[in-house]
Symmetry: C2
């Protein structure tokens, strides 16, 4: 159970203190944190709360939103991501997960295009090239702080408004020019389970030493009204955890396995019960195949 | 405008007679049909209605649902697809679009897994292999009737419950063992616009002579409550029609361009107005780049 990690987004309404309590109570070895939580009391205090409970920080979410095309937008993104890098180092994790952002045409996540969005604002190739440029900008700073930029492929259903990285293979292509200890990838079952190239991409990620995290949750149907919050407990949906976990293990990954679920019903549940369910599902569906 | 085709699903509540009237009235050269519509009055009558209006049938939707693992399910699927092949030939099109079906764990499209779904029912690789086997079973019959099995990649958001083919590249891999005149692919912007490998896959489809159709509609947000019906008129969303249409043209495709939109609001509109909007959007966003 020591590799099992509870991402704080799964128990969204718990404080950091409650989070580490319920994670430790369920026998887990780590927690995954989000920046807003770390920022509340400061990264040093957060580090003490986690280590005080005998836990590790498996990752910090999230850097990213790198797709701006204008100078002011680029400067703001770089500044914010440098802060995120410092926070990751301070809170005690090397792994800073990046959600890279959507098309510049986006009016807001989940909403339609800006009324004045031009053709160029729908240019995926150019948007993806800007992500590559911003990662290059941030690599020296990340290396200096011994933090890894962890590129997350999001499900293609979020390509317009949240992340123009849609497959693990594409994340690896973006990471390729940089050292593996500074730019990695995360395998999140929710986002990549459908990918016909998944086996090869996980194996490649392992060969290249870039697997920075393994996140698990299930694809359930029907989709929630807000599709972002459509995730289910491991075992409740369609994901083949036996196969994907085996591929991740065969690729040599021996780090933490975070459960990260966005789901209104699970958020309304008792955090201690949620942590127990997460631990139980991990033990049943994931751990035997690692 | 002669390459512009109105798929009957876009004006779901119109009869076949109304469909050809509004398509011809908007200056289009073709219509795309669905089987239930063709079956109502019979395929021969449908062929007369379409040709009587001076139009072609650009494609018939849909064959497929090939993922059953049990003998009875396999026999039923083969029988139904043989009927679909005969209907396509009779109604006057070579292009029979296949939606190949989801995981056997599916309780119903859009719904969660069957309560008794076992591990094997979530096995994507095995499910995809069964699709390949069923296509192989059907190829001789399709060739005999001079009909092409057109594999459609559906957006990965439908991988669990509707189609385990999720990318154009994967559709091409499945088609590869068979002659290009008997197994092809369709490029549907809604399903593939996000794919980082799209340019290469379209070029490959062209080189291999397998582009059997180009379907257009837009990715709009927020998603509808039933995500299947989330499509928008060309130009209303995030798809870069300029770029994708140019790739399709560069790949040598010179066939019909079908607009196929599933959308409750558009279904409630006057079919003649919808046909005019489709024609206008085609002329503005697609045709100049073909």
């Amino acid at each position: 159970m020591s590799r099992c990690s509870l991402n704080s987004a799964t128990v969204k309404h718990a404080s950091l203190t409650e989070l580490v309590e319920v994670a430790a109570g369920a026998g887990m070895g780590a927690v995954g944190l989000w920046r807003h939580q770390v920022q509340e009391g400061g990264a040093e205090a957060a580090a003490r709360i986690v280590s005080g409970a005998g836990l590790r920080v498996s990752s910090l979410c999230r850097g990213g939103f790198l797709t701006a095309a204008d100078e002011a937008g680029i400067a703001t993104a770089l500044e914010d991501n440098r802060r995120a890098i410092v926070e990751a180092a301070t809170v005690g994790t090397r792994e800073l997960v990046f959600v890279v952002g959507g098309l510049p045409a986006t009016s807001a996540p989940g909403q339609g295009p800006r009324p004045d969005a031009g053709d160029g604002d729908r240019d995926l190739a150019a948007t993806r090239a800007r992500v590559a440029d911003r990662v290059a900008d941030l690599v020296p700073f990340a290396a200096e702080h011994d933090v890894r930029i962890v590129l997350e492929a999001l499900h293609p259903m979020f390509a317009a408004d949240r992340a123009v990285i849609s497959t693990l293979g594409q994340a690896l292509d973006l990471a390729a020019p940089f050292p593996a200890e500074t730019v990695g990838v995360v395998v999140d079952t929710y986002h990549v389970w459908w990918d016909p190239a998944l086996r090869e991409s996980i194996a490649r990620a392992g060969r290249e030493g870039r697997i920075a995290g393994y996140q698990v949750c299930d694809w359930i149907l029907p989709l929630a009204e807000e599709p972002l919050n459509s995730r289910g407990h491991v075992g409740d949906g369609y994901v083949d955890f036996r196969t994907i976990s085996r591929w991740v293990a065969e690729a040599g990954y021996d780090g933490d396995v975070e459960t990260e679920i966005f789901n209104e019903e699970i958020w309304a549940a008792d955090p201690a019960q949620t942590a127990r369910t997460v631990a139980e599902r991990y033990a049943r569906y994931v751990e035997p195949h690692l």
